[in-house]
């Protein structure tokens, strides 16, 4: 293990595997999905080829193949030798098959249920519905509603039932009968066209920058500076309390806010005697909802800035403070001329780091307002999640959702590259001093 180059790679390898599996591969897949119409109905892993009412409607309308469509949709069950043979091989009793052949050979039916009823009327009735269904299925001589894995299988089956198709018809049929997803650039077109896209984007920018300015940096600074001017005990107490929102699990944390803001919640109860009619303070108006969204996220976000700024303030040499006090500087002057200049880089760091985390976070909004009222607090990441994975109607649009997440990926990567440049990346990555 003397060679540090190999050791380095070996130590890095486990992390690499995680990154490839759960960062790189998903990005590649998402990029591909973004250009498909993938949804609940098309499935993710590919579809089948089915002749059904709806696919034949498409055959009529897109290709004008009225006659073919109707022909294919005609269900047909025929009691023939092939079917009888299949029944025998499938384990049907010989007397049953004999009776069928004797009485019904050549008969044809328009649905399987008729065949099933026929089988049940036999003197040598097959035992159990399962056997009946199996025998009946063997007489099917049409492709309606059967799922074929490949277009070839479907076409072969159709030809097997004596319907010959032209090349053009084959192509048309393969296209319309496919139930899976297809490649398309429609998602991005739709995204640009929809007014809601722009509203969501505006919401996102508002959410990120307001929270960032008011809490993640603004209030964090207030906390850091205020605790700096305090004895250790209260300072420690306040820092701990403000760390609580960060460590409290989101589900519980948001529940506590709901308790505060709901119709019969704490706020409504104590404000009622003061003449405010009880209301759902959380969802009353978009302004209310935003206020709470920003408070909820801000209370969590403030702690990180607070800690980083506090340690940066601690790093300021004490004599600087003493000297300025001797000079008669006010507290405000101290803050302006000593503390803030020292915090330039930490503030920039927090700003850039938390822009990205806010941009991609939606957990708290999902739990608190679920984007309401009326979509007023729907941000990009939440809209993505709802489109792709979580909606009341169960219409999961994986393709469109993936297209939306691609937008976030591009913004995220671009921003972080800018930040890397800003923070003088070279200095962070200077080479190790022992090279063996």
């Amino acid at each position: 293990m003397g060679n540090s180059r190999h050791l380095g790679l070996m130590l890095l390898a486990p992390a690499g595997i995680f990154v490839i599996l759960f960062f790189l591969a998903p990005v590649v897949l998402t990029a591909v999905f973004g250009f498909t119409n993938m949804s609940t109905a098309t499935g993710i892993s590919g579809g089948a080829y089915v002749v059904s009412d709806s696919t034949m409607l498409a055959l009529k309308e897109r290709y004008g193949e009225q006659e073919l469509a109707e022909r294919l949709l005609r269900k047909s069950y025929v009691i023939d030798e092939a079917g009888l043979q299949a029944a025998l091989e499938g384990g049907a009793a010989r007397p049953t098959v004999e009776e069928l052949r004797e009485k019904y050979l050549g008969a044809s039916f328009g649905s399987r249920r008729e065949v099933e009823r026929l089988l049940k009327k036999l003197y040598n009735r097959p035992a159990g519905i399962r056997q009946i269904k199996k025998i009946a299925a063997g007489f099917e001589r049409s492709v309606v509603n059967v799922r074929y894995d490949t277009p070839e299988a479907l076409l072969a089956a159709i030809e097997g039932y004596g319907i010959t198709l032209t090349e053009a018809q084959k192509e048309a049929l393969a296209e319309v009968s496919y139930t899976g997803w297809v490649f398309t650039a429609q998602n991005f077109k739709t995204m640009v066209e929809l007014p809601d896209t722009w509203r969501t984007m505006a919401n996102t920018l508002f959410y990120v920058f307001t929270t960032l300015i008011l809490f993640n940096t603004g209030f964090a600074l207030v906390l850091a500076i205020a605790t700096h001017y305090m004895p250790d005990r209260p300072a420690g107490f306040f820092r701990s309390v403000w760390l609580l929102p960060r460590i409290t699990p989101p589900v519980l944390y948001v529940l506590m806010w709901k308790w505060l803001a709901w119709d019969n919640g704490f706020l409504a109860t104590i404000l009622e005697p003061m003449g405010f009619a009880p209301r759902n303070w959380l969802l009353d108006t978009p302004a209310n909802a935003w206020t709470f969204i920003i408070l909820i996220n801000g209370f969590v976000g403030a702690s990180m800035g607070m800690l980083i700024f506090s340690s940066a303030i601690k790093a300021i040499p004490q004599p600087l403070f003493y000297a300025s006090e001797v000079d008669g500087a006010s507290r405000w002057q101290q803050i302006r001329h000593i503390i803030l200049p020292q915090l330039r880089w930490p503030i920039l760091f927090i700003t850039s780091y938390q822009t990205l985390s806010l941009l991609t976070s939606f957990e708290y909004i999902l739990l608190a307002t679920n984007g309401g009222p009326g979509g007023a607090t729907e941000v990009w990441a939440l809209a993505t999640y709802m489109k792709a994975l979580n909606n009341y109607g169960g219409a999961l649009q994986y393709g469109y959702g993936a297209a939306m997440s691609l937008v976030l990926v591009v913004i995220g990567v671009a921003l972080s590259l800018v930040y890397l440049r800003m923070f003088n990346f070279k200095a962070l990555t200077e080479s190790p001093k022992i090279e063996q």
């Binding site: 293990m1 050791l7 460590i247 529940l255 995220g412 990346f425 990555t429 063996q436």
Partner: protein, 274 residues
Amino acid sequence: MSGNYRKWPMVLFLGILTAPLILMYVYLFVDTVTNTPPGAVIPDEFTLEHWRFLKETLPGRPSIWLATWNTFLFATVTTLIVLAVSSAAGYSLSRLQLPARSFFLGGILVLHAFPTVTLLIAIFLILQMLGLYNTLIGVILVKISLELPFGIWIMKGFYDTVPWEIEMAGIQDGASRFQVWTMLVLPQVKPAILALGIISFLAGWSEFILPLVLAPGNDVQVLSVYLAALIADDNNFDMNLFKSVGLFYVLPVIVLFVFFQNKLMNIYSGGSKG
């Protein structure tokens, strides 16, 4: 600390700003053991009925103890693997010669801010291909991946502060780089390991979206999903019960916090070293 300014205005000022937060946490405790008449804010009776979920399984929900065990397993395994992988990768990036080292470092910084949650569909597909959808281990793997960039970056930052002389001495005594790392350097970064361990544990304990989407089965349910489902049930609205389950859920977090808060503060501010 500067001694010449009055302190109490600052304490009062922050006290007012902090009051709502304290209020919410105080009521979190109070409401679990009391009943409050409608329209009032002061409880009027003591009761333990809100804690009934510990003894009897609530209708339609899995047992709370199963969910607790799953959550514990989830958080612990995540923590252990994050620690092992990040301390190895962090050391490699901090001290060892690597081809394309700055590329790796830059990559980690970019991943740090990656919108992974929005890639859930693709992640689901990968778990499915691995046969790990709806398993605890599947969600654990994803959670680990999410925590790694932060972990590696933090560990690298702490390794950077270990004096070179320690390793020089080790190598001159004939130890391999691997031995130097495990025997000399790792003990030096114990505080970082402890702190990162706590952070990862808390992150695992709190995680909601990943288990919700990737492991919906009852037998792998974790407490966050358990609580969220309870709250969402249209027919069973009971704020005090929710709070009791919530308090039960958050207790280990609070215990950890009380014991290790200084370590935690360390590491959150340690982020700035990068």
